[in-house]
């Protein structure tokens, strides 16, 4: 445990995941200190240390595509800027369709992605087979592929941003629980922590799967729901698979990491909420194995090495929540990233920092602002491509 060194900060960020750390880095760099990041766990104990490392720009909304594209550029520069090699490998993302309806949906995404200037391709079964060596014949009717999507190693990204944020003056207190906020004159005045209350003009809720809990502890009702998602890694193999593969029907996703393991997941339903912890289940192991062996039969002879799980922080419309809560000035949301917060973090956290600093946020408020859940007419757009 590293307790906070002061009793007063300008901003307290709750959560030292990739989103909280990037946000603290932006804030500290713009001289808006002092900044404190608190996390009740160890570094990378949340979803940022449990994910599949996928980074893609194929989305159903222009706004998401643009954020993701900005993040891709940020991750390409990461090694130079942050000193850590995150092994961001642009092996592409391949979405698979098993029937004409799914392929139509992917085509629509493809058209939108193309219109944003990204070189997405529609593939026939032969084109898919060329990318997925050993795929079962007739497993798919086609797919879409964007070669500049890719995968990275989440851990060094967390270390890099952690060190960078600290080097520009942000303080990171680990093992410290944020229990709520103190409010004066209707706005945030401080954060109540397990180590006492610290004063702060603003607080950033970057608590990942626990963000709903923290908002509610601050008296704000929010629609965020924590859902548990399982993932596994196999024994390593020599490289044979370049892209991240995602199946449209059931959300099966997997890629082969730099270490040669197949890492991937599939959604099996679990009760929502964080209280049950993050165990694995026999149901997942069976469903995932069946999916993998069904798609690439020879993988049947490969061993599953370990399984684990983590929390997505889901919103009803599939868009993250970025911006100040209109009900409680000083309370800034940086959450609701579902299963895609790692890939959106560099771009989204820049907007979070701007919101903290009271600068304009160049995001469609209909899609991203917390106000969209409190206004009487909810926005109709949804980001539906919540796969992989």
């Amino acid at each position: 445990m590293t307790p906070p060194s002061r009793t007063s900060y300008r901003t307290v960020v709750v959560g030292a995941g990739i989103v909280g750390l990037f946000t603290a880095h932006h804030l500290a760099r713009s001289g808006a200190g002092p900044i404190l990041v608190v996390d009740r766990g160890f570094l990378s104990s949340g979803a940022s240390g449990r994910n599949g490392g996928g980074v893609r720009q194929q989305w159903e909304n222009r706004a998401t595509i643009r954020l993701a594209r900005e993040s891709v550029e940020a991750y390409r520069r990461f090694g130079r800027e942050f000193g850590f090699n995150i092994w961001f490998r642009q092996g592409g993302y391949l979405f698979l369709a098993e029937n004409a309806r799914e392929l139509d949906r992917l085509r629509t995404v493809h058209d939108l992605v193309r219109s944003e200037g990204l070189a997405s391709e529609v593939l026939d079964p032969g084109g898919v087979a060329a990318l997925v060596d050993g795929i079962a014949p007739e497993a798919v009717v086609g797919g879409t592929y964007l070669r500049t999507d890719g995968t990275l190693y989440p851990f060094p990204a967390v270390w890099g941003v952690y060190e960078a944020a600290r080097s520009v003056g942000a303080e990171v207190a680990l093992g410290v629980d944020a229990k709520g906020v103190s409010v004066r004159d209707g706005r945030v005045a401080g954060v109540v922590t397990s180590e006492g209350t610290v004063t702060a003009a603003s607080v950033v809720n970057a608590a990942g799967g626990w963000s709903g809990d923290f908002s509610r502890a601050a008296g704000l009702s929010v629609p965020n729901v924590a859902t548990r998602h399982e993932i596994l890694a196999t024994e390593p193999l020599k490289p044979f698979l370049n892209p991240m593969v995602v199946r449209t029907s059931d959300g099966l996703y997997f890629s082969q990491t730099m270490r040669g393991e197949i890492v991937g997941g599939l959604t099996v339903p679990h009760p929502t909420g964080t209280q049950g912890g993050a165990p694995s289940s026999i149901a997942f192991l069976g469903a995932m194995a069946r999916a993998l062996a069904g798609l690439i039969p020879r993988l049947g002879a490969l061993g599953v090495l370990r399984a684990w799980s983590g929390f997505y922080d889901d919103t009803p419309d599939g868009f993250p929540v970025v911006g100040e809560d209109p009900r409680l000035p000083g309370f800034v949301h940086a959450n609701g990233f579902g299963g895609h917060g790692f890939m959106l973090a560099p771009a989204a956290s820049r907007r979070v920092a701007r919101a903290v600093l009271g600068e304009g946020v160049d995001l469609d408020p209909q899609l991203f602002s917390p106000a969209r859940f409190t206004t009487p007419a909810p926005a109709s757009a949804i980001e539906g491509l919540q796969l992989g």
Binding site: S44, G79, M258, G286
Partner: protein, 553 residues
């Protein structure tokens, strides 16, 4: 199973033969401890280490199936086994140069970033070096398609060692028919109990109180069948295993655990060495001396050597080196000598040898307790986490019992601990008197040992994690860069993320980090182990689907 003709197989193009029931490893380790493997990053030569299917030392590809552990595989006529991940061969591997060219290791975290133009090139090279084997063949996958075996039992006993067998026998005596599972390929049966051999319980999720029966365990029978066992009560009697030790060249072929040395011997076989040095001064070292005596020339112990071991050794003309530290293991590929130093201000000296048998510390086989969500306690005597149990073996999870050395009970009382758990399950009132257990207070002998060792200049490569080729210096660097706690150091260095699931590296890392961080080992962290306990083929898991309901605890 000694009758019958030998099984003829091929290993890297040369013919080999195994007696029926014998493993591929014992067949390949007749004369001496073989080099079977090159390490993942630096292509260091590696050989069998644990002998019990838990390390990365004996991976071969068999009939198109990658990552097969030779020590767990019983060959059939016509099998083709190959080593990969080496060029031209595992014994003379040109890529072994990596170990020479990068004396300080390759820094995957900060290195290979510049020039940016080279990114694609670095990634191709590093990717190509990863992994031990090419992907499986379709035929290998097809050969593993077997339906899952389903069992529904009153009591599941995991482990058929002395304590597991006594628990099972006691249950039989009380009129139950327990199911006994054991990893061993030929465990001794218990009359009246069902026995599944060669079977590892890989996943024991937390029990569902609302479900009857509450336990739902996943197991795996070599070479490829899944087993699903539903049980009312579970007794874990998984015993313990021999730990590794940190010193220079501690991964050299020829260095084995006592488990390894003993499994490679026995059943009329001589050990694959002649002049071994045994490390350790306790019961386990004495067992090794008594069983392998003529093949042992010296015993080296970190602390004092008790009279029984002194007697056992001197009867056999074995020299003794109490209070000694191992600085490094030397040799061109295999170990040829050990560099030692008497503790305190004692002199350095060197012992020629053809094997090193690690018998200094036994650790509990604990992954199932972690998986099942049992409360754990730290016992400093061995420096490990054990389930928190009452005197009748009941863990914090209702219906889950821990007996024998897995529960920290000393060997002399392991059958007693088993009997008590069995009695409790059938509704009796077991003896509440305390059983002798591994100490939970005071210092672990190795702490002082490592404290002193870390002050001596290090020579040779110290391998902190053999599976992932993580150097000890990387752990020191992580600590110096401010990364604290075993969970974070694990993620920072990759230590403990390989095929042994951290069984061999994490316990020592925990002790060393406690010294480096200046706080107690339990403060440095809790070692979590994720399912499955041993890799389970996707085909065996996929076969579960028939019985799969989407219910989860």
């Amino acid at each position: 199973m000694t009758e019958g003709s030998p099984r003829r197989f091929e290993y890297d193009g040369s013919p080999g033969a195994a007696q029926p029931g014998e493993t591929l490893l014992t067949a390949l380790a007749r004369e001496r401890l073989p080099i079977l493997q090159r390490s993942v990053r630096y292509h260091r030569p590696r050989g069998p280490f644990c002998g019990i299917g838990q390390c990365t030392g004996c991976l071969v590809r068999v009939n198109g199936r990658p990552n097969v552990r030779a020590c767990r595989y019983v060959p059939k006529d016509g099998d083709r086994a190959t080593s990969e991940h080496a060029w031209p061969s595992v014994r003379f591997d040109a890529l072994g140069l990596l170990d020479v060219v990068f004396p300080n290791g390759v820094d995957n975290l900060h290195g290979l970033r510049r020039p940016a133009f080279f990114t694609g090139f670095y990634q191709r090279v590093v990717r190509g070096l990863a992994g031990y084997h090419e992907p499986p063949s379709d035929a290998a996958a097809a050969a593993l398609k077997a339906p899952v075996e389903e069992r529904n039992v009153e009591v599941l006993v995991i482990g058929a060692g002395a304590s597991g067998r006594s628990a099972a026998a006691r249950l039989v005596a009380r009129g139950l028919r327990p199911l006994l599972l054991d990893r061993g390929l030929a465990p001794q049966p218990v009359p009246g109990a069902d026995l599944l051999a060669g079977t590892t319980v890989t996943f024991l999720p937390p029990a569902s109180p609302g479900r009857d029966p509450p336990f739902d365990a996943l197991a795996f029978t070599e070479p490829g069948r899944g087993v699903r066992v539903r049980a009312r009560s579970v007794i874990i009697a998984t015993g313990s295993y021999d730990a590794t030790l940190l010193f220079g060249g501690n991964d050299r072929p020829g260095i084995v655990t006592a488990d390894g040395a003993l499994t490679l011997t026995g059943r009329g076989r001589l050990p694959p060495f002649r002049r071994a040095v045994v490390v350790g001064g306790g019961e386990r070292a004495r067992e090794v001396v008594e069983r392998l005596g003529p093949h042992i020339q010296a015993v080296v112990a970190p602390g004092e050597i008790p009279p029984e071991l002194v007697r056992a050794a001197s009867d056999r003309g074995i020299r003794l080196y109490p209070r000694s530290m191992i600085l490094s293991a030397n040799g061109r590929r295999r170990v040829r000598s050990l560099e030692l130093k008497a503790r305190g201000s004692g002199p350095r000296f060197s012992l020629p040898c053809d094997a090193v048998v690690l018998a200094h510390r036994r650790l509990p086989n604990g992954p199932l307790f972690f998986q099942a969500g049992a409360k754990m306690v730290w016992r400093s005597g061995t420096g490990a986490y054990y389930p928190d149990v009452s005197e009748d073996g009941a863990t914090s999870v209702p219906g889950l019992y821990a007996v024998g050395s897995a529960a920290g009970v000393l060997p002399s009382s392991s059958t007693e601990s088993a009997a008590r758990a069995a009695d409790r399950i059938v509704g009796g009132t077991p003896d509440p008197r305390p059983l002798p257990r591994v100490s939970d207070s005071g210092r672990n002998e190795l702490e002082g040992y490592y404290r002193e060792l870390l002050r001596v200049p290090r020579s040779g490569r110290w391998i902190a994690c053999a599976c992932e080729d993580v150097l000890f210096e990387e752990v020191v660097t992580a600590n110096a860069s401010g990364y604290r706690g075993i969970e974070v150091v694990k993620r920072y260095t990759g230590l403990g993320t390989g095929l042994c699931q951290g069984r061999y590296c994490l316990p020592d890392a925990l002790l060393v980090l406690s010294l480096l961080e200046g706080r107690s080992a339990p403060e440095v962290g809790y070692i979590t182990q994720r399912p499955p306990t041993v890799p389970m083929p996707i085909a065996a898991l996929a076969a579960l689907s028939g019985s799969l309901t989407m219910e989860t605890p």
